[in-house]
Amino acid sequence: MSSRLFVFLVPLVVIAIFWFMARAEKGKHHDPTHKGFFERNGTALGIVFIALVAFWTLFLVTLPYLYMVVESFHPKLPPAQRGGPTDVLTIAQYKSFFINPVDNEINTTHIWAFVFSIITSVLVTAVNFAICYPLAYYMAQAGTAQKVRLIMLALIVPYWVNEILRAFSLRLLLASKGLINQALMGLGITSTPIDFLSINVGLYVGLSYAYLLVMIFPLYNAIESLDKNQIEAARDLGAPWWKIHRDVVIPYAKPGIASGCTMVFMLAAGSLAAPQFLGGPSTLWFTSIVYDFFFQAFNWPRGAAYAFILLTACIAFVLLMLRMFKVSLGETIK
């Protein structure tokens, strides 16, 4: 229990250090006109402000994650043994991702699920970008105000439908006797129904659709602020349309593209509902494994360790991509 207790002290220690640093700084450069925080806001209000911000950042943001970090470095124990002599710090949970503790073989199932999730998320991000870029460009530069409003509405309204309903109607559409298969067979394109769901078409479509807006709005925002004259200037200088996009629009919209792609990738890799409802029967999505550790096996330490593996890998991947495309992290949140 001691290490678990210790982690709750970390934020307090950090705050205390910062407070002393601020005090030392203030002592060095004494400014008589400076009014302190409590002087400006009054004691009662000041305390309320600090308490609210502290509650939010400590209890709702920092501590749960810190607790999960600590948990992931512990063995799974029955409640009676927690804090006992067997409750030691260990990297066994992280190791179990690579080497299955049951048979000491390489944990191919989980590693494959992990790789599959990452690759699928990359694909979904690419597909989303391919769909959203032309649309965002049209909305931001080409379309009339009225048409843009209409498109916005058509984009947003479907999101009022809840995720479960959306996912299962998609299943209905893609099922062996679903509308699409019947249409394909009716047109004579295929004689036997295609099992879209088991080859994960449903998963790709569902994931892409789920995060469409997350992609389109950063793109739209970025392209919208581009001066139309820049596009016309490139055209006037002889550039065909695709070179205008390659040389003028995309470089300009790069922060927006990075922001949209980062968010879609992160959300897709961490998504739970769409893969569970729409994935094929043999498809193992990484977050589903994490979910099962928490709620089926009640193995919180291992679940936490897996979740952090996913988080670290995603962050590393995104940073690598940003570096590759020469976008700074600050630009993506503009």
Binding site: A233, L237, A239, P240, P251, Y252
Partner: protein, 361 residues
């Protein structure tokens, strides 16, 4: 190499609004041609029609004798300099200048060579690696010119490119633009609402109002022999005196105005009984009485000393005062406020035009 531009009965409509109404015009190859008019007169619309960003509702644009219908802006032998320049902010100066060559597949070495030449032309040698944001307003201006010239257009279109510069720089750039035009020898079509720019730089000027070309002539003709009341009142200062023609011959016409019968040149061959406006420029007036049909007597409202000249304002018959510009040299006594003053003019310096719309003050 340069090419002439023909506008053949061009009409451009936006819904109900007619931006350009039946413009016919022949711009000669190698000419510095300006479209002059107030904002909203349709001059930018003409420019966009020539560059290909806009299709005329009726009529044809021909460049070098070739019909441009169906040819996009990226395929026309024109280059446009935008009002806000529209330089590419993420590219270096050299990349900006050679962008047109890059999209044409010109090799890197060739591009570097051309960039060097053009940077020399615009007097920015060795500055190719800078970012556009590191340049001053005048330098950006020159980079925009170089970028347009790099693609070796036959016609260069300029959309009020000097309007963002401060006064001193603007006057300097006028000379520079004219010099560049003479050096490269291609057709320049220049859009401006600034008559000073149009008069100093252009070989010929088309004055436009409400989508209609009012007059096409060289600067001196536009100033001295305006065709319409709009041209007379828009280009330079002018004093209008409205009335009815009482007598006219081939050379002069006399019109009955609120200040009596006055005489001026009858360029437009008006006949007795026509409604007309006599225009006399402030610098054409002289203090003191002259011939009875060229003299106005009115109350002095105020005067303004301006160094090289003094402006005297007399009470007019309309809201507008009569402005008289008195040159500094000469022993004139400036009439005092409230004093009745006589002024006269040489009838060959006044012009009688048929009644019509004037420029807004």
């Amino acid at each position: 190499m340069s090419a002439g531009v023909e506008l053949d009965h061009i009409t451009v409509r936006f819904g109900q609004f007619t931006a350009v109404d039946d413009a016919t015009l022949d711009i000669r190859g190698g000419e510095f041609f300006s479209f002059l008019g107030p904002s909203g007169c349709g001059k930018t619309t003409i420019l966009r029609t020539v560059s290909g960003f806009l299709d005329p509702s009726q009529g044809k644009v021909r460049i070098g004798g070739q019909d441009m219908a169906g040819i996009g802006p990226n395929k026309r032998p024109t280059a446009l300099i935008f009002q806000n320049l529209a330089l590419f902010p993420l590219m270096t100066v050299a990349d900006n200048i050679t962008y047109g060559l890059r999209v044409r597949g010109v090799s890197k070495e060739e591009r570097r060579k051309r960039a060097g030449e053009l940077l020399d032309l615009i007097a920015l040698p060795g500055q190719g690696d800078k970012l556009v944001s590191e340049l001053s307003g005048g330098q950006k201006q020159r980079v925009a010119i170089a970028r347009a010239l790099a693609v070796q257009p036959k016609v260069l279109l300029l959309d009020e490119p000097l309007s963002a510069l401060d006064l001193k720089l603007r006057q300097h750039m006028r000379n520079e633009l004219r010099a560049i035009q003479q050096q490269v020898g291609i057709t320049f079509i220049y859009i401006t609402h600034d008559q000073g720019e149009a008069l100093t730089m252009s070989d010929r000027i088309a004055v436009m109002s409400d989508g209609v070309i009012q007059q096409v002539a060289d600067g001196k003709t536009v100033y001295d022999h305006p065709d319409t009341p709009f041209v007379a009142s828009f280009v330079g200062e002018n004093n209008p005196f409205a009335g009815k023609v009482v007598s006219a011959d081939g050379e002069h016409a006399a019109i009955e105005t609120a200040h009596g019968v006055l005489r001026g040149r009858n360029d437009r061959k008006l006949k007795a009984g026509d409604r007309a406006i006599l225009f006399v420029r402030p610098e054409s007036f002289r203090l003191g009485a002259g011939a009875s049909d060229a003299t106005i007597v009115s109350e002095t409202l105020s005067s303004a000393f301006e160094g090289n000249a003094t402006h005297v304002f007399l009470k007019g018959s309309t809201k507008k005062d009569i402005t008289v510009t008195v040159a500094r040299h000469g022993s004139h006594r400036i009439p005092a406020q409230g004093e009745a003053a006589a002024i006269h003019f040489d009838p060959s310096m006044g012009v009688v035009l048929p009644e019509g719309k004037m420029a807004r003050e």
